[in-house]
Assembly symmetry: C2
């Protein structure tokens, strides 16, 4: 019995030893898996809470007249259009300046959306004001009045929490400020900027430095020609690429947009609306859709960039349906997806 017991206990010990070895082994493996799991959870949390899309631009009051009506002192500006649009895809941090006249009722527009306004500075004085009108050819605005106000001495201050933003959009502001911001985010995976005739002719040397520092330029067609001195789209894009940005996106108003990266070219039309009520902010909404989609997926492969361009055109088409931010503030997710599918139906053909 004793022997039998000993044997049993020896077997049992050996079994127990085996068990504990196996347990240790499982634990060792599981702890590796657990470590992996924990780091994944940490990354997901970190990604979830770490807003990685930053826009620096203007928050303004616009007074707009179009053949469909007019609006007085409505909130606008490149950063506003960009942030509201991109917020349908990903959280957005905003760096901009407003004056004392930009009240709580105006700030409320951004509430209830993943838009962080801790970089929105309030300065003594009045908010930047733009007054413009469109004739029946909605492709170009005629500026009636520009009051820079607090924007005149705007020096973008990037909150520390924004400094590791992976995606950056530099709205159409002084190229000196654009470069100043760009330099503070050297690790951004995709930095894009916009510019206009005023800076092309007014600060060409400064603009060239900014262009040399960004990955992408998103620019109107006429200004792409002006900047490059080239007459065809293809030469204009190549000319701009030689200044720095590897990606050139030419906005063509009602004719859509065209994308150039290396030898690759991609066209996206503008959505053919029955009525265009106010084209203000279409370009920044395009950029918001484009950058928002990229930041959401954290992927800059060409397949993603192409889809992002289509989302850009989708969002621009909503922007122009009503005055100012009106339509952009009440889009349903499903409407965005439906219009995205419409773009496929309007552009694809069987070979």
């Amino acid at each position: 019995m004793a022997t039998a017991k000993r044997h049993r206990s020896a077997r049992s010990w050996r079994r127990s030893e085996k068990c504990s070895t196996a347990f240790v082994e499982i634990f060792r493996q599981e702890s590796v898996n657990l470590a992996r799991l924990l780091s994944l959870v940490f990354i997901l949390f970190w990604k979830g809470f770490n807003v990685s899309l930053l826009v620096v631009g203007s928050v303004a009051f616009d007074s707009i007249r179009t053949p469909y009506g007019q609006a007085e002192m409505i909130p606008g500006g490149s950063a506003s259009y960009f942030a509201v649009t991109a917020s349908y895809f990903t959280p957005v941090n905003v760096v901009a300046v407003v004056g004392e006249d930009f009240g709580e009722q105006h700030l409320r527009l951004f509430q209830g959306r993943p838009i962080d306004l801790s970089g929105l500075e309030r300065a003594p004085g009045k908010t930047f004001l733009w007054r413009g009108e469109y004739s029946s050819d909605m492709n170009e605005a005629r500026t009636l009045e520009t009051q820079l106000n607090v924007f005149e001495s705007f020096a973008p201050k990037i909150p520390a929490a924004y400094l590791d933003s992976e995606f950056l959009f530099l709205g159409n502001i002084d190229p000196v400020l654009q470069l100043h911001v760009r330099k503070q985010l050297p690790r951004a995976r995709l930095a894009a900027c916009d510019t206009m005739n005023f800076w092309i002719t007014g600060k060409p040397a400064e603009l060239k430095k900014t262009l040399a520092s960004v990955d992408a330029l998103i620019i109107n067609e006429g200004e792409a020609r002006m900047l490059s001195g080239a007459d065809t789209l293809r030469r204009a894009a190549a000319g701009i690429q030689s200044l720095g940005p590897r990606i050139v996106i030419v906005k063509r108003g009602e004719h859509g947009a065209c994308f150039f990266e290396g030898k690759s070219i991609f066209f996206v039309p503008a959505f053919p609306l029955e009525e265009v009520r106010d084209p203000t902010g279409a370009g920044d909404s395009f950029a918001g859709g484009f950058m928002g989609y990229i930041a959401r997926h954290g992927n800059t492969s060409e397949a993603h960039l192409r889809r992002a361009l289509v989302y850009g055109s989708v969002m621009a088409s909503f922007a122009v349906e009503q005055f100012g931010l009106e339509r952009l503030l009440r889009i349903e997710r499903q409407e965005i997806e439906e219009r995205f599918q419409d773009f496929k139906a309007m552009t694809h053909f069987d070979v």
Copy 2:
């Protein structure tokens, strides 16, 4: 034996009877098949030799100045551009008029191609002449001189052999003449026409009658707005569709073209060339590629129409690479297919 023989012969007779019945049956079936085969061969022959695409338009001399140079008295006109382009896809019949100055050396341009000129009338007097120039914005020509000459009294005579054409393109001529031709080809499966501001303002009632008689209008964007009185592309197309044509194709110059049929919309960009040397004839080359592809396949399904539109844009892009018909006269089949594939690469995206 005799009985056995009789039996055998009876069996043999019965077998032979069965055989002959079977043979008759097979012959009967085969003759049906043969009849089918013969009719198929006949149809193929008939289709092969029966040219079913007809263009009625102008054959002219053009004097053109662009930022890239100038050309004096080179052959042009809507029917010339259309015929040369469409001839890459299918045989084409031409109805037009030239003067005594349009010599053998000019007619040689059409030789060696499946272009039938038996409908090209030679009238006493001079050939239609157009003199125009383009500024650096190549999108619009400035007309410096127009001499109608023999075109002034042009009354298109459709040769009897052309009267059963299945596909018809009415180039940009007097809508009264367009309707006159259209009425002579009531069985055409697809009749398309072009028009311009001159007729929209000059002969609106006559133009409306022509539009009510065609399946498709191929028109410049500005003229589509002028004709419809609408400001957006979508409303312009709907307005034109209400006048008759179920298909509206809006040519947008360097921005490509847009197609409307029922609820379906399709965009094709213009090929982004490094250099556009002479935009003359781009619209008619577009129409030639479009109608040529359709006539080649004899199919007007939407999938075919979309591919036809891409071929239209492909051919227009070749047209503008050199002055006049120069480039169009020396395209390789492979170049056309390569550019067609380029269009797919420039427009498709994964959903």
